[in-house]
């Protein structure tokens, strides 16, 4: 982990955030689309306000998950074959690439999550007494989803079915994160039950990080 590593990771993160800033896909599409989804579901389903305030947190995380997966296949996160060739020939450290891509995705996802949470509170009248956990839960979810997105992106890169495979790989794997997030925030448990859910999430995030780092090189070898 010398200075070269950090320089490369920073360069990658910076590139992804810059691309996203110019394309504005998350701000202009994913966020409004997610907000519409939050709005639509109760409408179509015909749930009343009581139920809604109870299940609101769960709904929020479902939307975060499904659309979070979509941000990992956002156009600016996917490279064309010539772009992939070019970056490979820059001799980038695959672990640095993993770290940089994940960091950038996590930032984007965090922004998305915060806006969605605000919308959910406004729409659903959620009981937010357990919500200060969000300060830890949101970043953990963002990082976990970002890790999953980067790993799956690398797995699917240059496979024919390509980017299309990513959501299929990510969504089921993200379930533990989803469960952890919902449970931490909803179960206000004086015995520290929340903490054990947080620990679960942290473990998942850590496991994903380890898998990401260890498999970065083998995955690169497929290119």
């Amino acid at each position: 982990m010398n200075s070269g590593f950090w320089r490369q990771a920073m360069a990658v993160a910076r590139r992804d955030l810059e691309r996203e800033r110019h394309a504005g896909e998350v701000v202009w599409v994913t966020i409004p689309f997610g907000a519409i989804a939050l709005l639509l579901v109760p409408l179509a389903v015909g749930i009343n306000q009581d139920v809604l305030s109870r299940i609101g947190t769960g709904m929020l995380f479902v939307v975060v998950m499904l659309f979070g997966v979509l941000t990992s296949i956002r156009r600016t996160n996917i490279e064309t074959p010539p772009q992939r060739d070019a970056i490979a020939l820059l001799g980038i450290d695959p672990v640095a690439e993993f770290a940089g891509k994940t960091a950038a995705s996590a930032v984007v996802l965090l922004v998305f999550e915060v806006v969605m949470a605000a919308v959910a509170v406004a729409l659903y009248g959620i009981d937010i007494s357990g919500w200060w956990w969000m300060i830890i839960v949101l970043p953990l979810t963002a990082i976990g989803l970002a890790e999953l997105g980067t790993i799956s992106g690398a797995i699917a890169a240059s496979v024919q079915a390509g980017p299309a495979l990513v959501p299929l790989l990510v969504t089921p794997l993200a379930i533990p994160l989803l469960l952890g997030a919902t449970q931490t925030v909803e179960n206000i448990d004086p015995d520290g039950g929340n903490l054990s859910w947080l620990v679960l999430m942290a473990i998942v995030v850590l496991v994903l990080a380890i898998v990401g780092v260890l498999t970065a090189r083998p995955l690169q070898e497929t290119r």
Binding site: L169, P172, I175, P176, V211
Partner: protein, 240 residues
């Protein structure tokens, strides 16, 4: 005995064992409170446990591949995952039939049921990925990562009944605390043993097939096919 002969022997034993176990299950004492449908236990539980085992084998074989880079480990991983998917499907279908008998619905909103289905999806995704990559080496590298990640799913599936207290049976097998009648337990263990044999037999068969597929791929790769570029010829117009 030849390798092929031993294999046939394994197949036959597995079949006999399963038939035997099921007969044993049929004649085991009836649990009054649940009726004959409770005998589904002897298919339901062994199949799901064998699915766990199959996915665990995929996990170990995936790591083994990444460490040794020997393709045979990838074949084991892929074969085992395929069998795991079959077992999971059987367990879910068996559970649904059982559920119709005891809960009066095929599917209910229950964490274990959901997560079991999610686990199935993870490995269907794994198989879909394998199917999408024709080259054996590239396939091995990519799918091994997913084979490792997939095991993460087993944890919520197993603990789901403890984390959410809903409809499904809680885990009755805990270390030092087995809550099950002796005869039923015996029948269950016999059944598990029998299904393990089935797993072993299927795995060997599937692995053999995978080896043959690999051989066929290599043979095709070694064969001198037409060169792709030879399909292009000089235009028939313009030059004349």
């Amino acid at each position: 005995m030849t390798a092929r002969g031993r294999l046939a022997w394994l197949d036959i034993t597995a079949v006999i064992a399963v038939v035997g176990a099921l007969v044993f299950a049929m004649v085991s004492p009836r649990v009054e409170s649940q009726g004959d449908s409770a005998r589904m236990l002897f298919i339901h539980v062994p199949t799901i446990w064998l699915a766990y085992l199959a996915f665990a084998v995929t996990f170990v074989a995936s790591i083994a591949f990444l460490v040794t880079r020997k393709l045979k480990w990838d074949l084991v991983a892929g074969s085992s995952a395929e069998i795991g998917v079959v077992f999971t499907t059987v367990a879910i279908i068996g559970g649904m039939i059982w559920g119709k008998a005891t809960w009066n619905v095929y599917w209910t909103w229950d964490a274990r049921l959901t997560l079991t289905a999610v686990m199935l999806f993870v490995y269907i995704g794994y198989l879909a990925l394998r199917r999408a990559i024709p080259d054996p080496v590239a396939r091995a590298r990519r799918s091994s990562v997913l084979g490792i990640l997939g095991l993460v799913q087993l944890i919520p599936v197993h603990f789901s009944v403890t984390w959410w207290r809903t409809l499904h049976q809680t885990n009755t097998f805990r270390p030092r605390d087995i809550q099950m009648d002796g005869p039923i337990l015996a029948a269950l263990l016999v059944s598990v043993a029998a299904f393990t044999l089935v797993y072993a037999a299927l795995l060997r068969r599937r692995y053999q097939l995978a080896e043959m597929e690999l051989e066929a791929h290599r043979a095709a790769a070694a064969a001198e096919g037409p060169v792709a570029g030879d399909a292009v010829s000089a235009p028939t117009i313009g030059s004349t």
